[in-house]
């Protein structure tokens, strides 16, 4: 049985019957293969079901106004996909990222500013959802340490130059 045919199985009960049939025919040698087929059969309808609802209207469709679309695109590139975590929602094909793009585009089209939309999401998911760096209680050392290091290096340089003269 080819994988392509297996993918056509939508009803898990049907795939279960096939598995039992395979087992009786091939006995122990086919047990492993049957198990794999059974698992694929089990998963196939679930994966298929995930795709069954069409993507949100503005998940893959750009806004008619190119200026607004550019604004939306810039914002989407700095928002984290929550189910994939290391991608932006502009990069991800996850259904939830599509729904987030839809939300961003419809809100931009309705006249909301990108920063208001970002603030709305941060209010729900924390700074984690945004890739745009912010100075906060926990992140200030990231900004302060380079300044301190540069100041230290400047002080050493100044002392050396003064001594050399």
């Amino acid at each position: 049985m080819s994988l392509a045919r297996l993918r056509l199985i939508r009803d898990p009960r049907e795939s279960g019957d096939r598995v039992r049939h395979l087992r009786s025919a091939w006995k122990a040698t086919s047990a492993f293969a049957a198990m794999a087929l059974f698992l694929i059969g089990l998963l196939a309808p679930q994966l298929a079901a995930q795709q069954s609802l069409p993507p949100a209207p503005y998940a893959y469709r750009q806004l008619e106004d190119p200026a607004k679309e550019a604004e939306a695109q810039a914002l989407m590139e700095t928002l984290r996909c929550l189910t994939c975590q290391s991608q932006s929602i502009a990069d991800s094909d996850a259904a939830m990222a599509g729904d987030m793009r839809h939300q961003v585009r419809t809100r931009i089209a309705a006249g909301e500013t990108p920063e208001a939309i970002r603030a709305w999401l941060v209010e729900r998911y924390g700074d984690y959802v945004s890739y745009a760096p912010v100075v906060s209680e926990t992140t200030w050392p990231l900004f302060a340490v380079p300044l301190l290091l540069a100041a230290g290096a400047g002080a050493i340089l100044w002392r050396r130059l003064r001594r050399a003269r």
Binding site: A49, S52, L82, R124
Partner: protein, 175 residues
């Protein structure tokens, strides 16, 4: 050689030590909702399955604390937590469901196969309510008090050991 010549090397060694330690720590994938402690946003969702009512914010403001379960018929861990939801229902918890990106016939098939612990199920086709309450995946379960305020969030499928915690949080929400 003056002692402080070693300082940069020591700092670097210290940095390596911290980095090595952090690499051995398990990664925390959970994205907690910042909406815990805040009221539910306004929404009104269509019925996700035939013969069952939909869900709106007003349904949570009658004084009774409830569980709000974010799930979907296409979600595998949701099958795993179905028996635990059934247990919570038997313990007296009222469970309201929101089905994410789901078709009525798929919802009905899931309920027929894995049981129906819900009193209402709303269909969230664009994940709008999910985003509005700060949920980042399925399944997640929120404890909502009788005034419609989010009091607790459980991320991931409910296992047997989480049932007492949820019941406790539900009781706290009712006090």
């Amino acid at each position: 050689m003056r002692w402080w010549w070693w300082l940069p090397l020591l700092l670097f060694a210290g940095f390596l030590g911290v980095a090595t330690y952090q690499l051995t720590q398990p990664k925390d994938d959970l994205v907690p909702s910042a909406m815990v402690g805040k009221p539910l946003p306004e929404f009104d969702l269509r019925a996700a399955a035939e013969g069952m009512p939909g869900v709106s914010t007003a349904d949570f403001r009658d004084g009774k604390p409830r569980l709000l379960n974010i799930w979907a018929s296409w979600c595998l861990p949701c099958i795993a937590e179905a028996p635990q939801l059934e247990r919570l229902k038997q313990e007296g918890a009222e469970i309201v469901g929101i089905a994410i990106r789901d078709r009525p016939e798929d919802v009905a098939a899931f309920l027929a196969r894995h049981g129906n612990p819900y009193t209402r199920i709303g269909g969230d086709d664009l994940s709008q309510v999910q985003l509005a309450i700060g949920s980042s995946g399925v399944p997640e379960t929120f404890v909502i008090d009788g005034r419609g305020v989010i009091r607790y969030q459980h991320i991931g499928d409910i296992r047997a050991e989480h049932v007492p915690i949820l019941l406790e949080k539900l009781q706290e929400a009712g006090e």
